[in-house]
Symmetry: C2
Subunit: 146 residues, 2 copies
DNA sequence: CTGTATCCTTCTCGATACTG
DNA sequence: CAGTATCGAGAAGGATACAG
């Protein structure tokens, strides 16, 4: 698997505030920052889908694959491994043949899903505003440039 | 600028529920889905930093650049343009020389920032759990494989 | 100062093939 | 069934040079 634990080894550097006496600021740009880790997970193309599906019921690998249209076997595996490692999803292997592996949300995962809903709600509430802003912006650009 | 409006043109296809009579599901995998748009924006390496900084005060381009350690001029420009287009940030050009351009949050941007704080709070509250889950997982892997 | 354009490296991810 | 391994295409993003 080529994806390592941390996403890009390049410049895992400084926090936002300068070295001197700036105000404290809770986020930094490092990939290993806690907020970034969760952000990267929930913004991941597949993670959120998996979490949402598992919030309703326990599912097998293939069931997940079938439900999530367009996911490759590889990415589903990678996604599930990340979620499992972060303690958001529990993986249960039933020692039978053919193998039966089931995935379900942990309480932590369920709690994250709940929190993310706030963001979804916000988006629902403001999608029209955003669309309008884009149209306005694009219109302005079109008449300025061409 | 190589980044287009939509991020990847490949397979902007189906929703999660099947074509038949599955339960309704609010997210799909298309890049142009509203939730994904916002998710991609807030998970962007720099967008959130910019929003957080502008939440406190209005800043010029160079001030932002100085505050955000490690951002390239190119990415700051790209980020600000996206945020402006989405109506989250307002850009004001003062017609003086040398040019003076100021950025500030719109009410929409401020409201998003507020919403995102819920996620930050969740992360703060659960970062220890996540770290422990990771350690446990890594330990299990280490003793199984090597 | 505030960008835009170009090049070039790195990373991501899907496709494919193979295994227990 | 549930993965793992490998490869290659494409996208993201930093460095650099240049412009209004």
């Amino acid at each position: 698997m080529e994806e390592g634990t941390s996403k890009s080894p390049t410049h895992a550097q400084g926090t936002v505030e300068g070295p001197c006496c700036e105000e404290a600021f809770q986020w930094d740009t490092r990939e290993d920052c806690e907020v970034r880790q969760i952000l990267d997970r929930i913004a991941d193309k597949w993670s959120l889908l998996v979490i949402a599906l598992l919030d309703k019921r326990r599912l097998r690998f293939t069931e997940l694959r079938r439900e999530i249209d367009g996911v490759s076997q590889r990415m589903l595996t990678v996604t599930l491994r990340q979620l499992e490692r972060d303690g958001l999803v529990r993986r249960t292997v039933h020692p039978v043949v053919p193998p039966r592996v089931e995935y379900e949300l942990t309480p932590l995962g369920a709690s994250l899903h709940e929190t993310v809903q706030a963001l979804v709600t916000w988006t629902d509430a403001h999608q029209r505003e955003i669309a309008e802003a884009r149209n306005a912006y694009d219109a302005r650009m079109r008449q300025q440039v061409p």
